[in-house]
């Protein structure tokens, strides 16, 4: 089952990463677009990871915001900065935050898991909004253009720098998550979706399995948030609002939650629809995305990746 299914998708993933490396060289405005797609894809990778265990977090934007604000705070209170430093800061802070929140939320499943995540993220969001003295409230904090390994860049060069940094991290994250899901620990995570009790009969702690997955997904969220903050040069409380979390879950379902590449396929489709809809129908991009989402859910509930599978093999019983 695995060998026949994964191979074409791996090829698709390689093609996608190659395109995002080469295409922006021809169309300059694509550099930022692809960088955003890759950065958001990294966040969605974390959502896809949790979907393997059958859990949906409706608050994952809190890790996205943590990563973004880690970079923003460094710039605001210490000044200057380096992309790699920001990534380390964003990664470490979101991992720690993920571990703390994770210790609480892994005791819950399904709707309560989703809701508790939502509640934690709304607490963070309101703190970001209200601690005006530190966060500038709803205006957010500008993130000045950082350097890389001591080099500084012009804005034109920088969009390519951040693109290739995002690409490198996306490839590493994609490969690592795929390896993780194929490892025993990843299989245990998947086993939670079908039958958690059996997992525990085998002597595993379902909570610990989920906690590890949760912390990894928080790390991915933080890294993605740091990258987006650098790309858009700003961090605002909006980064941690619940609609942002909804957007990530949306992208995961759009791409298809069954495979890590779904995260990037979904992010690519989402950002392209938004990029072009916003350019041509300034006020209606949200409407169009909503309609796209409905069509996908009703007619291709396994997402873009699932569309291919539907022709390949008959649906296995249940879900």
């Amino acid at each position: 089952m695995m060998a026949g299914r994964i191979k074409p998708i791996t090829i698709a993933a390689i093609v996608f990463f190659l395109v995002s490396a080469v295409a922006p060289l021809f169309v300059a405005s694509w550099a930022t677009l692809f960088a955003l797609i890759l950065a958001k894809g990294i966040v969605v990778l974390g959502i896809v990871l949790l979907l393997q265990a059958g859990q949906v977090s409706f608050g994952h934007a809190m890790f996205f915001a943590t990563g973004a604000y880690a970079a923003a705070f460094w710039g605001k209170f210490i000044g200057g900065g380096d992309i790699l430093l920001f990534l380390v800061l964003g990664g470490v802070s979101s991992t720690m935050f993920g571990l703390i929140v994770g210790l609480f939320v892994v005791r819950y499943r399904e709707i309560f898991f989703g809701m508790l995540n939502l509640a934690f993220s709304m607490v963070l969001w309101s703190l970001l909004e209200k601690m005006f003295h530190y966060t500038n409230g709803a205006d957010g904090i500008r993130v000045a253009r950082p350097g890389l390994l001591g080099l500084s860049f012009t804005p034109e060069a920088f969009q390519y720098v951040i693109l290739y940094v995002s690409l490198a991290i996306a490839v590493i994250a994609f490969y690592a998550v795929q390896r993780y899901l194929d490892s025993p620990l990843g299989h245990m995570l998947r086993a939670m979706k079908s039958n958690e009790t059996r997992l525990e009969y085998l002597g595993m702690s379902a909570r610990r399995v989920l906690l590890i997955g949760y912390v990894i997904s928080a790390l991915l969220g933080g890294i993605g948030g740091t990258l987006v903050a650098i790309i858009q040069q700003i961090a605002t409380p909006e980064f941690g609002f619940w609609t942002k979390s909804g957007e990530f879950v949306f992208i995961a379902i759009l791409g298809g939650g069954a495979h890590a590449f779904g995260a990037f396929a979904g992010a690519a489709m989402f950002e392209c629809v938004r990029f072009y809809a916003a350019a041509h129908l300034a006020d209606s991009w949200q409407l169009i995305l909503g309609v796209v989402l409905i069509v996908i859910i009703l007619y291709a509930p396994n997402g873009l990746i699932g569309l291919r599978q539907r022709y390949g093999q008959a649906r296995q019983g249940g879900h």
Binding site: F112, G114, M115, K130, G246, G290, I297
Partner: protein, 299 residues
């Protein structure tokens, strides 16, 4: 804090709790019966508010008293048209499928409605305070307050609470709804049309959200984003109470309304934090909510 401020806070809290209760009880009812968390619920609230304002601005020149039926009409129109559409064409094809998909399709409905709201009513704030101005101010322990907020809103909330209780416990239709909630298959076997029960429940729940919005419209300015704020708040109330708990929702709404009102007078910057903090604290201790029943873990 002196006693005048304390009374003001209590009155504020009660009138706010009444609105929050109306919206949350709709969400809770829908979850109880359909097992769907309706993310578009906040949009139904916003649409109710906007349509009510449109209706009452249009009808006020004829007779200001007609604004009250206009508020009610707006909430029923939104409940039946928007709520009916969401259940019939979006949720119905998904029953029995992954829960995530039901959650997401209502999220899609939220995105669409949020955008439509901007397209139809624009981004400028709308004011329609006519119904608020009609009723006289009353004095409570020497503090002046509008009777719309201290009498009418809590009155409607209490009527809803007792009406729902009566409807679910004493009428045949209520018994049918409870039967479907308990066991869909068995109730279908004895000849209940579960599909219709789902539809009606959703429309009723949606109408409560719209009614909350309609009643809120005279007391506040209508702005984009009000729907997104309300949905998480009503989530918080419904989840803190325990999903599907009607009386619990009322008590939790009151608790959150009062706490929030006191926080506004004492530490205004932490206002938005209150409901979520309460929700986190309650769910950590009682994951099934304050009034929810413990669910046995299925093997």
């Amino acid at each position: 804090m002196n006693s005048t401020l304390a009374i003001l806070a209590v009155l504020d809290g009660i009138s706010y709790a009444a609105l929050v209760f109306l919206v949350s009880v709709g969400l809770s009812l829908i979850f109880g019966v359909l097992r769907v968390v309706n993310v578009a619920h906040g949009s139904l609230y916003a649409f109710g508010a906007y349509l009510a304002a449109t209706f009452s601005l249009a009808i006020a020149p004829i007779s200001p008293w007609l604004t009250y039926p206009a508020l009610l009409a707006a909430s029923i129109v939104i409940g039946v048209v928007c709520g009916g559409f969401i259940e019939r064409f979006l949720l119905r094809p998904l029953y029995g499928r992954d829960d995530v998909l039901q959650l997401l399709i209502t999220f899609a409905a939220f995105m669409i409605m949020d955008n439509l709201q901007r397209l139809i009513w624009g981004v400028q704030p709308i004011f329609a305070a006519e119904p608020l101005k009609l009723l006289p101010n009353i004095s409570v322990f020497g503090v002046n307050y509008t009777s719309y907020q201290v009498l009418l809103l809590p009155g409607v909330a209490l009527a809803t609470l007792f009406g729902l209780r009566y409807f679910l416990r004493k009428t045949l239709a209520g018994a049918v709804i409870l039967a479907v909630t308990e066991d869909r298959e068995a109730s279908t076997a004895i000849g209940i049309d579960a599909q219709r029960v789902y539809f009606l429940t959703f429309v009723i729940g949606a109408s409560f959200a719209a009614l909350g919005g309609a009643l809120a419209s005279p007391t506040t300015s209508l702005v984009p984003g009000m729907g997104a704020d309300m949905i998480v708040l009503s989530f918080a109330v419904a989840a803190t109470a325990g999903l599907g708990q009607i009386e619990g929702t009322a008590l939790t709404a009151l608790m959150i309304g009062l706490t929030r009102a006191f926080v506004i007078y004492l530490q205004p910057e932490f206002e938005v934090l209150v409901p979520y903090l309460l929700m986190v604290l309650v769910l950590l201790v009682r994951p099934f909510g304050l009034f929810g029943a413990v669910q046995v873990r299925k093997i």
